[in-house]
Symmetry: C2
Subunit: 388 residues, 2 copies
Amino acid sequence: MKRAIILLVIVLMALDYGYAQNTEIKEDFVPSELNQPGKQYPMVNSQGYARFRIEAPEATSVRVGLGQGGTILTKGDDGAWWGTTSNPLDEGFHYYHIYVDGGTFNDPGTENFYGSTRQESGIEIPAHDKAFYEERNIPHGNVQQVLFWSNSTNKLKKAFVYTPPTYGIDGKKYPVLYLQHGWGENEYAWWNQGHANLIMDNLIAEGKIEPFIIVMTYGMTNEGFRPGARSQAAPGNRPNGQRPAQNAQRPARSMRLNNGFEAVLCDELIPYIDSHFNTIANKEHRAMAGLSMGGMETHSITLARPELFGYYGLLSGGTYSPEEIANTGVKFVFMGCGSKERPEGVIKAANDLKAAGFNAMSYVSEGTAHEFLTWRRCLYQMAPKLFK
Amino acid sequence: MKRAIILLVIVLMALDYGYAQNTEIKEDFVPSELNQPGKQYPMVNSQGYARFRIEAPEATSVRVGLGQGGTILTKGDDGAWWGTTSNPLDEGFHYYHIYVDGGTFNDPGTENFYGSTRQESGIEIPAHDKAFYEERNIPHGNVQQVLFWSNSTNKLKKAFVYTPPTYGIDGKKYPVLYLQHGWGENEYAWWNQGHANLIMDNLIAEGKIEPFIIVMTYGMTNEGFRPGARSQAAPGNRPNGQRPAQNAQRPARSMRLNNGFEAVLCDELIPYIDSHFNTIANKEHRAMAGLSMGGMETHSITLARPELFGYYGLLSGGTYSPEEIANTGVKFVFMGCGSKERPEGVIKAANDLKAAGFNAMSYVSEGTAHEFLTWRRCLYQMAPKLFK
């Protein structure tokens, strides 16, 4: 009898397991759209589960740093390591990496994207509203790499410049948005991970905005603080004699936001852009926005240089108070974030600004966290409000 | 006595080992210039040796696919895997990857470069003549990403367009060179691995050439043959009903060079470039060149469409015979390769063309093989001869 009960429990558990497998995870997996050409894995399904396959036949442990608590892979019949996230992932773009026998590597199946101060693997869970950044058969603008000499750092520096489809053809001059990436990312993030160019092309094709230029440059330009170098930095090398960060996991904000980037952006890049592109070179036609750390940079630089920028955008990157912007002459303030961040903050801040008579807007991206779908949506919401 | 002899042999072996270590490999290693920001390894020394350090504490085997026979890493006191190539590497750029417990991954220390139909690690052995592609404080042209719709494939396609520093400022129209990458590479190769934009900027700044535009697009556009997909392709999916390749390791040439790319390049991209850029849109001001497989594409497309191109360049990519180009009206033919390839072929071919009355030139890159330093030098040699 006891054996029969145990057998029954085992059968019920097996049935339950089969039920969970068959009804909870749909077997409609397709290759992630960010895979390298011809690569089948990683795959994603219609519910947002991700499935991985890593070839490392002699490894003893393979793990993926994605999904709640990560995803432990197990060896399959084909000798490769397989695993599916234990939960659906949020829609949109996610950085990740894999651990093979204690080492950190990228998934050979996917393209790489610079985040967290290193090249990371990327995976895309198709968003229900992805049409606004999809590729269409419409006129497309260009993304131009420009190399400009920086006297303050004695280095050649890089920026990418989105020019709208009509640029150079209609003979017109355009407003400019300076758009900053987040901590650990670089000047490729907004067009590669963010699809800023496609968002603009689609908005323009639909007649929803007047075209403008977007400039994206590298914002972690504190020359004493190179990304990835913090563990090696001796105290004597700290910029401006600042104290070590309290939290060793991340650099302190004061280390990240020194004057170095402000000088490169305001005194070197902006003059370069205004002298090499058809821009309307005044505050009324110049905006600055950024995501996360790029929002903090936007906050400090717009307040320090109110004569340069007329429109401010903070994307998961803090808020402005009415007191802070009292004497800036700002025309419009955008503050957005994901619903899984702390949306109350941006909503309250925008209400406070509006109550004080400022033109302000908050936006909350539904169902997203501190990730790129939040910021794609923020750009889509913010762009039509700029330069009005 | 016997023990004394054995001891003596051991001491002599140790001395010899120490001698080899100290006098043969100079300990002047510095981080490779292609490392990700802040990464110390891989390193290179002044003799061309490369040294690797890979963290994978629980791995049992780590190998680097670079150096004669590869480089086997051994576990160091710090728990990381270390190794130095057994021989100096040729000057210039090298793709590589690492093997961790039987799996193929990239070195987390370096940037990635698309080659061999996958993202690969890259390392640079500084060349003695690298000044011609170094970054300088001079006017720089832009590299523009353009997205153009391809009717023949019903897809949005990408190209990168180098525009010289004066482009758009002097109001002039420019000649155009269509420049193709090699097998397994993509439209990023010529500017990322090849520094085509810096080579042009430097040549222009030194007054050695009249500026022109360079267009770089993806040449492996046989839609039935996606890179990386060949092991999965069923016979029925082969394009144009072609027979399977004889050599399963690489696709047969006939599979790689079908009409798909010719149509995209000649009937879609060229008209797009001529209608969106300030080009001189005729044969006398349009060139085509390519490296390796891109040379084969150049060979077949220039001969198939002699009305489009007036200047041909094959970079480690075959030769033309006088008979082949007899009725093309070609103005100039460039054929180059590395001294470690088969330079006799290009030298003889150029001599044959010259003997037949054609304007032709051969160039042999000293000390280099089928790699990017050969092709950087070829571009540097070829560019001043175009559009004369």
